[in-house]
């Protein structure tokens, strides 16, 4: 009875939302969207928001990857919040899995193929992750995917070597330093230009590695942070205690 009820409920909710989404003009021409309105200056621009991002994004931020431009620069504050969310998740898991006495994991050696393979792959995966977040402003990807990839490389090591564990203190410190970098970059913007998270470094030439001002700095910080946080979560779940 309960199952039927739950199912009906789920289907009803699905229909309700599907109907709503059906009314949304996905894939329509940009110019059909309403022009944005600046509530502070009380004036309407002659462009819709996505149109503005695509047209002026490169000038505004110096990044060639528009997703990055929006994520780190236009809406960098949200990203700071999301980084905090991840930080919270890792801290929360860390505080909940915490036990005073250290418990040793049950050790069972994995076979040689896995061990050698992971040894081989580890460096490449890390390199790939680093590449993703360092080139975040140029190519698809950025701090979050990069960090996740790095964490998955550590996961590989956890799976291959039962005795492996990342040192918790170092993880914490790198996580904190990365977070601090983000906040300090924001505060520097506030000091230099009067806007929090202002892109105060020179933009440089588009498509060059050293371009787009603070975006690469922030993305590196995010990459390090996400990597160490996700590793920390895995570590906490593996049962190796600080």
């Amino acid at each position: 009875m309960k199952r039927v009820l739950a199912l009906t409920l789920a289907i009803l909710l699905f229909i309700v939302f599907a109907m709503a989404f059906a009314k949304i003009p996905f894939g329509e021409k940009m110019s059909n969207y309403p022009d944005y309105y600046n509530p502070i200056e009380n004036q309407t621009s002659n462009m819709s928001l996505p149109q503005h991002y695509l047209t002026y994004g490169k000038n505004d931020t110096g990044a060639t990857n528009m997703v990055t431009a929006v994520v780190v620069d236009y809406r960098g504050f949200d990203t700071l919040g999301e980084v905090t969310v991840l930080f919270l998740a890792s801290t929360g898991v860390g505080s909940l899995m915490y036990v005073e006495d250290k418990v040793k994991r049950k050790v069972r050696r994995s076979n040689a193929v896995v061990e050698t393979g992971s040894k081989l792959l580890f460096g490449f995966i890390i390199l790939f992750g680093a590449y993703i977040f360092i080139h975040g402003h140029l190519t698809p990807g950025g701090g979050f995917p990069g960090g996740a990839v790095i964490a998955s490389s550590f996961l590989l090591l956890y799976l291959a070597y039962p005795k492996f564990h990342a040192e918790h203190k170092k993880l914490n410190v790198s996580e904190s330093l990365a977070g601090l970098t983000f906040v300090i970059v924001g505060l520097l913007g506030l000091i230099i230009a009067g806007y929090f998270l202002y892109n105060f470094l020179p933009f440089g030439l588009p498509t060059y590695l050293f371009s787009a001002g603070v975006i690469p700095v922030i993305y590196v910080a995010i990459g390090v942070k996400v990597g160490s946080e996700l590793t920390g979560i895995v570590d906490a779940m593996m049962g190796v205690r600080e």
Binding site: F17, P25, P34, Y37, P50, G81, S95, L177, N199
Partner: protein
């Protein structure tokens, strides 16, 4: 000139800093947290003074809204932010009582909870609001289970389930709004909400209403409340009642007034408020466990605030905001006192607490807090309740107010029962330590001050009419 963004940047800075400091000394981290919340409260106070003249817009990243994110602080937001940070500071003193490891992480989570709630109040961007909602709720999930006992984990699990469903609804609502209007700035949304397709609009509204209703403890979305408040560490229960709940209800008010100005819907909000009051107060009467009783009472109080918002006249919304402030102070006080009583009686049952409040350092603040929650003058709770009631009358909600008053009598009954037990002659009187009685006395003084001389608060709340009509 105080920039609102500092209220968010500083706690973040200190939260990220604390693991590094924690390597040297765990004690320092606790004092760092007290310092950070004190700094925040001061900044919020200064911000409040500034906001008096005109709403403050803090543009992030130098992009004009709606391109970038903007923090939008009107007088009402500023005062709620101030109260949140002030109470957070006071509770952080009580945090010194928490001994359980890992204390550094606890402190960080607490600071981020404060930051998230403050951000929810200050932000002027819908998606940013969601981000802060997430920060707040994820911090809450971990803190709710911090005791690491069965009660804590069960409560946190319920909170996670319901909270994440609520967040999902919020996100869906935001998606719908963005895909229709291509903007996330609240004022921008407010300016063009009329052009939305009615069906999409109503679904978006309902989603946001429901999602923020979870944080605002609206019936029937408040089912997590008793378990979480009961299972969480004592300072955290106090913080839950004062910080995220207030931020949630402020967000709800923003959705109702600033963004949608959906006046037809208001009477339904009143009914939901009344139901919340009813379920909160009536069930609180049946509780034997002190923290659960306070949790249900909290639901009742939040219902009252929702009612005030729903009535929607200037007087009633003024009352609702006043009540938010009073409830933040009063419930924090009561939960801290409850923490002491539980510690002294070594039990969380009310009947075991005979005479535990006979020490005046606890007893008098406890009495003041309870009376304030009951809405007695000259304490903070009086004006809020009175204004909400009068606002209700001026709109002609006679029957609803009468029912509400009936529920209020039940509230008085269970508080009186509780007071009677804790002031009865008991076996021994335990003296509280400084970390307990300093916050209690600070909160009691605030409650009395606001109650005796409400002029400053009412001066801020004068701007409520601008809020209702969709301004900041």
């Amino acid at each position: 000139m105080i920039r609102p963004v500092l209220l968010i940047a500083f706690p973040l800075f200190f939260a990220f800093l604390s693991p590094i400091i924690g390597l040297w000394s765990k004690k320092w981290v606790r004092y760092l947290i007290i310092f950070a919340t004190a700094l925040n409260a001061t900044l919020a106070g200064l911000l409040l003074l500034e906001v008096f003249q005109h709403p403050v817009f803090d543009i992030i990243g130098g992009f004009q809204p709606p391109l970038g994110i903007v923090l939008m602080v009107g007088p009402l937001g500023a005062i709620i932010a101030f109260i949140i940070n002030l109470v957070a500071f006071i509770i952080s003193i009580y945090n010194l009582k928490v001994e359980k490891e890992p204390i550094v992480r606890y402190s960080m989570l607490y600071l981020l909870l404060v930051m998230g709630s403050t951000g929810m109040v200050l932000t002027g961007d819908l998606f940013n609001l969601f981000v802060f909602l997430e920060v707040t709720s994820i911090a809450s999930y971990s803190l709710a289970a911090y005791n690491k006992d069965k009660k804590g984990f069960l409560g946190a699990m319920k909170y996670v389930i319901i909270g994440s469903i609520g967040s999902t609804f919020v996100l869906l609502g935001i998606t719908l709004i963005y895909s229709e209007l291509r903007t996330l700035n609240m004022l921008d949304i407010a300016a063009r909400i009329g052009t939305m397709d009615p069906y999409v609009k109503i679904i978006a509204f309902t989603s946001l209403f429901l999602g923020f209703g979870v944080e605002a403890e609206m019936f029937p979305l408040n089912t997590w409340v008793p378990d979480v408040y009961d299972g969480a560490p004592n300072p955290i229960s106090a913080a839950f009642a004062s910080l995220p709940a207030k931020a949630g209800i402020f967000a709800l008010a923003r959705v109702i007034f600033t963004m949608f100005s959906f006046t037809n819907f208001l009477w339904f909000v009143v009914i939901m408020g009344l139901l919340t009051v009813f379920f909160g107060e009536l069930i609180a009467y049946t509780q034997k466990n002190l923290k659960r009783m306070l949790a249900y009472s909290s639901i009742g109080q939040m219902g009252m605030i929702i009612m005030g918002l729903g009535i929607g006249t200037t007087l009633a919304v003024e009352g609702a905001f006043y009540q938010m402030i009073a409830h933040a102070l009063g419930k924090a006080l009561l939960f801290i006192a409850a923490g002491f009583l539980i510690y002294a009686a070594k039990s969380d049952k009310i009947e075991d607490m005979k005479g535990m409040a006979r020490n005046p350092l606890v007893g008098i603040p406890l009495l003041i807090g309870a009376l304030s929650i009951m809405g007695m003058p000259p304490f903070a709770g009086f004006y809020g309740k009175f204004f909400i009631l009068m606002g209700g009358f001026s709109e002609g909600y006679y029957a609803i107010i009468a029912l509400f008053l009936a529920a209020s009598i039940v509230e008085v009954a269970y508080y009186a029962r509780f007071i009677k037990i804790v002031f009865e002659k008991g076996n021994r009187v335990i003296r509280p330590d400084a970390a307990t009685y300093i916050p209690l006395i600070l909160l009691a003084i605030l409650i009395v001050l606001i109650g005796v001389y409400p002029k400053p608060i009412l001066a801020v709340l004068q701007h409520v009419s601008a809020f209702i009509t969709g301004g900041a």
